[in-house]
Amino acid sequence: MPEIRNPNLQTQGPAGGGGGGDMRSTMGFALLMLVVLFGYQYFFKPKQAETTATTQTQAQQAPQSASQPTASSQPAQPQLAADTAPQASANAVAVTAASETQTTVENERIRIVFTNRGAQVIHWILKDFKDTSGQPLDLVQPQSAARFGFPLSVFTYEPALTTQLNQALYQPSATGFLLAPNSLTFHYAANGLDVLKTFRFDTGYVVSVEAQVKRNGAPVRALVAWPAGLGDMEEFVPGKSRSGAVRTPSQFAWSIDGKQDSLTPTASGFLFWTNPGVSGNATFDLPYQYAAISDLYFAAAFMPEDINGATLVTLHNSVDLPSDLSDPNSPKKPADVLGLAVGDQSGYTRVRIYAGPKQIDVLNTIHATGPGGAADGPTLEGLIHYGWLGIVAKPLYLALRFLHGLMGAGAYNWGWAIIAFTAFFNMLMLPTRFYMMKSSLKMMRLQPKVDAIKRKYANLKVTDPKRSEMNTEMMALYQTEGVNMYGSCLPMLIQMPLFIAYFEVLSNVIELRQAHWFWLGDLSLPDPLHILPILIIVSMFVTQIITPSPGMDPTQRKMMAFMMPIFMGSFLWHYASGLALYWGTSNMINLLIQLGINQSSIGKEMHEIAAKRAIKKSGGKPPTIQGKR
């Protein structure tokens, strides 16, 4: 392995090597510590939190009274053949339907299909979105819902009662097809039980739910549930798996008193104890402004109408899924299914439910209920997570949105927005680059004198205070020769967070889901034809070759010229193509700038100096790359 020398390191000289022996052991120790830390997290992932069944006792238990006619046993609008048994006796009148029917409610954005078995939802379709197989997206995941329950079913603290209420045939106020705005009522009564569920629909995504369960006249604590997660859980969809993309599991997110927070189903995070996970079957009587299950792009959020009476139960189940989704026969691993049940402590639940995309425009218009009872509480915008570098990711996303808006409608404009933003950024750096080049040329001419100074101090370690005199001498030299130091850490310090910010935006923001740009079907998925990674490798390699850098050792330069493009290219092979688009644009711009520089007089002189130096270093024989000119 050739001795790799860094021009900045040359100021240390042999002392760097001498001190390096000391450093090397410490470095090895530090590396070992890092390996242990990450290995622990990788191999010993914390087990799933055990489901603690903290069932609460009934809030009220009405005394059994024989003679208590339930006044609401008569159906309000008898439309279907109801098995009403009008009896003058004290027993309650049973209300149920004869057969299972479906009612479909539709508006511009959603189509909801109710079944009167349990008065729950079997399909909740978002008309503007498609799932990965091209069908309109259904928020109800059929397999897990069949096992754990359908949305808008009822949850009570007695499993037998819950099953009865969710299997009974309710009497609907209408069947068939309904256009929103509208309302739909389901009623069921039998043996002292009386359940009334009312749903109100409007022109948006929000559905208003009122539910009341009474047993012999006294209210039973019953909650409106969404037990089985969201249909967009990419874990469930076989076929095109998002290799390389991190699959975020569903989260339980909420807002109390304006403060938002969230939990993942299992304990996670770098500090395990700060994110303990959702145990399931735990009741929380807290004034929730909203409580939601949200996954990457969609969320189902409950907004209670009466915040102070709100109560909530978390539901956590797991389903065994094949670990490789494109191969149904691969070994199965458990996947988390998160659910929520929200209600009111008095037994009369009124809650608004938003089930839809986590789009910033939409969520900004939906307010939770404020203290006065009107919808003026915090918006649902807190549901959108921008990843761990959200501070940089959110402004980047807003900037991209601005550019996207400028270019008018059309889905492929997100790609152009990324390109425009990158180009703008690079152009901003251009004047500084020009000055840096001129100063760098002057310094290259001075290099022999600088080397002489460095040799004088070569036997001192970096941390020796006497070395500061070397810096003073060099500074004096620069001042006499009129060299201004124009460099800055800024481009580097910005490029790295920007890269991460792009990554976060592309993974977390729903507007970029399935956004295409020419051959790229989905900017948040890897490039299917791999054109962009290859372009990046080629452009980086060519840029490296034509850039003059006299300070570098030629073997080191060769290594850099091969390793860096391959490293970046292979990294971007597996990750979002939007990221590759950003990096590729940046590279192409750099390439063009470098070609321009090479044509200018400054560039030509730089190349001369570089070539002369390289020949001197290798003892008269021009090495391959630098000898090109």
């Binding site: 790799i4 090397r24 500084t432 680059r433 100063s439 003073t472 201004n484 130091m485 580097m492």
Partner: protein, 88 residues
């Protein structure tokens, strides 16, 4: 702790710095000593915590709007005088 940080900085200077500087080869450090050298010296003379913050402030100052040129690490504080019995 000091040695670990110094080892990390050494690793940066030998391996990461050439890679990062290859992208824009004219981008030298604005100051003398370079930011990574400054960080090493600061941590060595002032201890890990104080040195780390000195280095961080240096990184923030290394932008086109700041003065360039010589920027040595401020000298270490003198040790407090050791109380001793008065000399005869």
């Amino acid at each position: 702790m000091t040695r670990i940080l110094l080892a990390i900085l050494d690793f940066y200077r030998r391996w990461l710095s050439p890679a990062l500087h290859a992208l824009n080869p004219d981008n030298r450090c604005r100051y003398l000593p370079t930011c990574s050298e400054y960080a090493s010296i600061a941590i060595a003379t002032h201890g890990p915590l104080h040195g780390f913050f000195l280095a961080l402030w240096r990184l923030l100052r290394c932008n086109p709007f700041a003065r360039s040129g010589l920027d040595p690490v401020p000298p270490a504080p003198l040790p407090r005088p050791f109380p001793h019995k008065p000399l005869p």
